[in-house]
Amino acid sequence: MISEKEVQRIAKLARIELTKKEVEKFQKDLSAILDYFELLKEVDTKNIEPVFCILKDYLKGNAAREDKFYPGSVSDELIALAPAKKGRQIKVKSVFK
């Protein structure tokens, strides 16, 4: 069983605030699932290359778009979605004191 401290550490990394009840529940849930994941240990993966792009054989050349201006920008619509803004700028709380 993973410890309460461990759950709190992960929650902090994930930027999620948990109630005491949630911490208890996650200790139980995460432990059961992580134990199940241990199953992978029995697979011999020596000399096996990990998959990062499943159908890379089908991708031809550089798939990235050319770096240029494309008309039809939605930047105004995107800025409009921000909860706090000033003109065309999104307001963010101070990071440094």
Binding site: I16, I33, L34, L39, V43, I48, I54, A63, K93, V95
Partner: protein
């Protein structure tokens, strides 16, 4: 106007049996009157639907028939962006979020003149297999209101099954199109990874997600798939490819049946129905072969490690600053903490936690990296199998639809029921679920898995199974 397929709608519009507007009004009326029984829609986009229907009528009047999809009333899973309409992902985080642009698949469908009736319910951010994880309400199975419709595209599958739309779009990262299709007696296609652009699909697990059709029959799945597929420069993983559409005779067809899929834990009734269908296909001349997918046992673990890791990275964007729910506090850290704890439901938090854990320092090699190596082995199993077989046939799910609440307190049990669908996503392959019969009143589905970018051949075999 009951249970119309795309072809029937197209014919009806052409022969002026009804107009697109009449059709749209009929479906909207049906949703308004009857959807409260199963709760398949989160948002009904009535104004958009009526506008599109009038436009479709104009196109048909002026240009004659343009596409089978012109005027067709469809529903869209609520994690796919439709410009100007809410896209909630059935989450409190995006409850008031309005899409600033169209998903690529939606743009293509709009260009063909479809009528979008509304946005359908899902497990929050597509994380789940029952649609019970929606932050708003659970959707019920139209065949048995005490049971789940499956998930995460449960709203789309239930809406098609109950004829609240002609067909629908879903998304599938580990079975989210195929499993609800099986539970609701409809057809669901998960395309090859890269066949359909993911631009405008709210990201859950980027290396696994695909948008695909949920329809009343195989023909419609092919039509809808043809309309949404193709290269999109805004999704670097999307691929334009030659359609592998060879003519085949059933006598030449080799169907592989993986022995690892017919083991304990599988409902006997499901097994009987699938085996009956196998016998039937054999009787028609298909060659049935037993094959081995040796790493099947490890698929669930590899899948959930991959999916949760990618989810934890993807959902970091909901920070209370850019869009979505914001619980602004005095400093940024507090804003993050309060926003995420208020905006995400239990399953989403659980998966973010799992993914964060497996990507964190000291665990990455043992978990995420190991899962990607096992993934390579799972793909190799399929590559080997497809050397001697054309299509792989399996059940879609080990059991028919389960009761609402039956698995919601046991996340691991819920994960384990994805056993037949997750390998396909890990290997990037196309797969389709077609109805194969009923156990009592509960539908059962059969899954066919194909080679990459051979959707057309796959759907031809699916057509044979449907007969």
């Amino acid at each position: 106007m009951k249970n119309l397929t795309l072809k029937e709608i197209s014919r009806g519009l052409e022969n002026k049996e009804f107009s697109a507007l009449e059709l749209a009004k009929e479906y909207l009326k049906r949703i308004k009157k009857q959807d409260k029984k199963i709760n398949s829609f989160v948002t009904v986009t009535q104004d958009l639907a009526l506008k599109q229907a009038r436009e479709a009528d104009r196109i048909i009047r002026e240009k004659g028939k343009v596409s089978v999809l012109t005027g067709a009333p469809i529903a869209v899973k609520d994690n796919i962006l439709v410009k100007g309409e809410k896209t909630t992902c059935s989450s409190k985080m995006l409850k008031d979020y309005t899409a600033p642009f169209d998903a690529f698949a939606i743009k293509k469908l709009k260009d063909l003149g479809v009528v979008i009736l509304g946005k359908t319910n899902l497990d929050e951010f597509a994380m789940g297999a029952s649609t019970e994880n929606s932050a708003f309400f659970a959707t019920k199975n139209p065949y048995d209101l005490t049971r789940v419709p499956g998930g995460s595209s449960g709203g789309s599958a239930a809406a098609v099954a109950d004829d609240f739309c002609c067909c629908a779009l879903g998304s599938d990262a580990g079975g989210s199109i195929r499993q609800p299709a099986a539970f609701c007696s409809v057809v669901g296609l998960k395309p090859t990874y890269g066949a359909v652009s993911r631009f405008g699909l709210v990201a859950f697990a980027s290396s696994l997600d695909q948008i695909g059709p949920i329809t009343k029959n195989v023909d419609d799945a092919q039509t809808l798939f043809n309309a949404i597929k193709g290269k999109d420069e805004k999704d670097s993983t999307s691929i334009e490819y030659e359609i592998q559409d060879s003519k085949f005779r059933i006598q030449d067809l080799r169907i592989g049946v993986p022995k690892e899929y017919f083991v304990k834990g599988m409902d006997q009734g499901v097994k009987d129905l699938v085996q009956k269908k196998i016998k039937e296909l054999e009787g028609k001349g298909a060659k049935i072969q037993e094959i081995s997918l040796a790493h099947t046992k490890y698929a669930i673990a590899a899948y959930y490690l991959t999916a949760t890791s990618e989810a934890s990275a993807n959902l970091a964007r909901y920070d209370g600053v850019k869009y979505g729910l914001s619980k602004a506090q005095d400093n940024l850290m507090e804003t993050y903490l309060k926003t995420k704890s208020a905006g995400f439901g239990p399953e989403v938090k659980r998966r973010i936690m799992l993914g964060t854990y497996s990507l964190s320092a000291g665990y990455y090699d043992a978990f995420y990296l190991k899962a990607q190596k096992v993934r390579a082995l799972i793909k190799k199993d399929f590559d080997l199998a497809f050397k001697k077989t054309d299509v792989i046939l399996t059940p879609t799910t080990p059991t028919p639809a389960f009761k609402i609440g039956e698995k919601s307190e046991d996340p691991l049990a819920m994960y384990l029921s994805d056993i037949y669908t997750v390998s396909v996503n890990l290997a990037g392959l196309p797969a389709v679920s077609v109805p194969v019969g009923f156990l009592g009143k509960l539908p059962v589905g059969l899954q066919l898995i194909g080679k990459p970018f051979e959707e057309s051949n796959l759907l031809k075999v699916a057509g044979l199974c449907q007969e």
